[in-house]
């Protein structure tokens, strides 16, 4: 076979089009807009105080030790570590609850038929359309009447029924073959055993995705903890950061930025580790997380 015969089979060099260049430029600018504030935060923290905002500003960190000193100061002189613990517990309990209730409900809705299933599903989906601002007052009143203000259950319980999580899991569980459920029934598995031994393990990917999304959302939740747990012993990271940023705060901008950075670090680490799953999860649910 001659070279000429092979030649047409070789892949052609792709032409770089104007549209491709424009798309890349747009993507670059969006990435820049997203990254710049985080970078600015790192820059301010790991620099001599005042340097990045001086007449001769720097766009790169100048003093690693200064940053460490500020982090040490915040951890030792404020209740930041305690807030970390509260936020962590708040996130973990919420994740556990959302996964448990969401998966049990999704199991029934996705795999079984029962009276009014479609209507109930529609009602749950409708609740996704209602803005949080509308429900926050009745939820607060109910929580207050239960005597749950400034308690962990007050923080956690109202967030356990996640319509979004439910929807994500229903979508996933619908893809589980019916034969498999029937095989388990014939194998003598009870309703709960089918859920526990067959459906939950098969939904592992969806559950992990939901856990990640719930963590991101709970960690960043500012409004609900602010309303339901205003006592300092129940402050979450978000609230503490809020205090640092408040109008009468006497902290300098570099200390405030350190508090902000510390709050952003756990979700950032989480995102970097689970980046692929988060993107998959958002694609799977077809909605914004």
């Amino acid at each position: 076979m001659s070279v000429a015969e092979i030649a047409p089979a070789l892949p052609r060099r792709r032409k770089v089009r104007v549209w491709t260049v424009l798309r890349w430029m747009l993507a670059f600018f969006i990435a820049l807009i997203a990254i710049l504030p985080v970078w600015w935060m790192v820059n301010v923290v790991f620099s001599n105080p005042g340097e990045p905002v001086s007449i001769n500003p720097r766009l790169y960190p100048t003093s690693f030790q200064d940053g460490i000193d500020k982090i040490y100061m915040i951890f030792t002189e404020t209740d930041y570590l305690h807030a970390y613990l509260i936020s962590l517990l708040y996130a973990l309990f919420t994740i556990a609850g959302v996964l448990l209730f969401g998966s049990m409900a999704a199991f029934e809705f996705a795999l079984f038929d029962f009276p009014a299933r479609r209507i109930l599903f529609a009602i749950i989906m409708l609740s996704l359309m209602v803005p949080a601002a509308v429900t926050i007052i009745p939820t607060y009143l109910l929580t207050a009447q239960l005597g749950w203000l400034n308690t962990m259950q007050g923080l956690v319980v109202p967030g356990l029924a996640s319509a979004f999580g439910f929807f994500l899991l229903v979508q996933f569980m619908r893809s589980i073959p019916r034969d498999m459920i029937e095989a388990a029934r014939l194998d003598g598995a009870s309703h709960f055993q089918i859920y526990w031994h067959v459906v939950l393990p098969l939904s592992r990917n969806a559950l992990i995705t939901l856990a990640i999304l719930t963590f991101m959302q709970t960690w960043g939740n500012y409004m609900w903890p602010l309303i339901v747990a205003p006592s300092p012993h129940m402050y979450t990271v978000g609230q503490v950061v809020g205090l640092f940023n408040s109008p009468y705060s006497h902290q300098t901008v570099d200390v405030v930025m350190t508090a902000n950075l510390l709050a952003a670090v756990p979700p950032l680490i989480f995102f970097l580790i689970f980046q692929r799953r988060i993107v998959e999860g958002i694609a799977m649910s077809g909605t914004k997380g």
């Binding site: 498999m180 029937e182 095989a183 014939l186 067959v198 098969l202």
Partner: protein, 372 residues
């Protein structure tokens, strides 16, 4: 009382009636195959026996015990699904032991049962693999193994070989027959493939439109079908049906005209009902003889037909023909047939021909019915 009795079973899904007055008796150790076209209700009947579908009316009983309200797992039936329905997150051993684990059997007991089933199905080397690491045939064997370990009273197979390629299907068919011989357990098998049904079945149950059309030994159904549907469904290529008018009948013969449009002839038939004006003559392709060019014959019926297609399959040749009235025929011929196109004369063996009435029911000679 048979081992498994299905009495007047009916099934409806909303306004749709899927099964209508099904009656069937299955003996212990029989290999029964439900066969019929898609949507005939065969899988629904199997699922009703398993307990996965409820019975709308009628009863299903095993060894005299009515099972209508018994939980699927308590019926002593194990099912093998078309999709295998293996749990993808469990190994072969875990898949096979799932039922026993749910029943909280002792570990040593479970181990022994798995080893036994794995030995029967040659799965020893695959016990630690997950379904994703198995081939189609291996998955099917695991699915059967999962059924075996439960030592059921009856095995239910729902089109278990449909997802396998042709060669593997033939091999698995032989393995299933061997398994049935070794275990001696009652097996009920659903398929739409009549070749599979004929090779496997002790008793073949042909179903159509929610009704059992005929049940019996495969060759009985082949030779002596009760109606046009069974005659047409069993056998490949399918039986030829040639329309004809009844010209007259006496005590022992029926004279037919306009056979396939133009031919005439007589058929030995005792006690033909003179009220029947039109019939269909059923002749299998192997009972049609193709006449060589210029060959003379004294056959009672000779059909002139146009050749549409000649299928030469090596061991056998099938000639597709069109009769003057448009009826399509298939005749089996010898290899090396010279008239590949144009017209051809074929002789149906009228001694083996069957008659069907306008409603599709088989018309049987009076004496024959009495003898049967």
């Amino acid at each position: 009382m048979a081992f498994l009795d299905i009495n007047s079973v009916t099934k409806t899904f909303g306004p749709v009636q899927v099964l209508e007055d099904v009656n069937l008796s299955i003996e212990r150790g029989e290999f029964v195959v439900f066969v019929g076209p898609s949507g005939c209700g065969k899988s629904t009947l199997l699922r009703m026996i398993s307990g996965l579908e409820e019975v709308t009316a009628g009863t299903i009983a095993i060894e005299g015990e009515v099972l209508n309200d018994v939980e699927p797992a308590q019926r002593g039936a194990a099912m093998v699904f078309q999709s295998y329905a293996l749990y993808p997150h469990m190994t072969t051993a875990q898949n096979m032991s799932f039922g026993l684990r749910m029943a909280r059997k002792a570990k040593s007991f479970i181990r022994a049962r798995i080893d036994e089933a794995a030995g029967i199905l040659r799965l020893e080397a695959l016990l630690d693999r997950r379904p994703g690491q198995l081939s189609g045939g291996q998955k099917q064997r695991v699915a059967i193994g999962r059924a075996i370990v439960r030592e059921p009273r009856v095995f239910l197979f729902d089109e278990p070989l449909s997802n396998l390629d042709a060669e593997l299907r033939v091999r698995m068919r032989a393995e299933l027959m061997d398994l049935h011989r070794r275990l001696g357990t009652t097996m009920i098998y659903v398929t739409h493939d009549q070749v599979e049904a004929m090779t496997l079945a002790d008793k073949m149950v042909v179903m159509h439109a929610g009704k059992v059309q005929q049940a019996g030994r495969p060759l009985t159904l082949y030779d002596d079908p009760d109606n046009r549907f069974v005659a047409g469904f069993v056998g490949s290529p399918t039986m030829n049906f040639i329309p004809a008018k009844v010209a007259g009948a006496d005590a022992s013969t029926v004279r037919l005209s306009a056979i396939g449009g133009t031919a005439e002839g007589a058929l030995a038939f005792a006690g033909f009902d003179s009220a029947v004006a039109t019939v269909e003559i059923g002749v299998r392709p192997e009972h049609m003889r193709v006449l060589a060019d210029g060959e003379s014959t004294d056959a009672p019926v000779v059909l002139d037909a146009d050749v549409v297609l000649v299928e030469e399959l090596g061991d056998v040749t099938y000639v597709h023909l069109h009769l003057p009235d448009g009826t399509r025929l298939i005749a089996r011929a010898e290899r090396g047939l010279d008239s590949h196109e144009g017209r051809m004369r074929v002789v149906p063996d009228m001694k083996r021909a069957l008659l069907f009435g306008p409603d599709g029911a088989r018309l049987r000679p009076a004496a024959w019915t009495a003898a049967a």
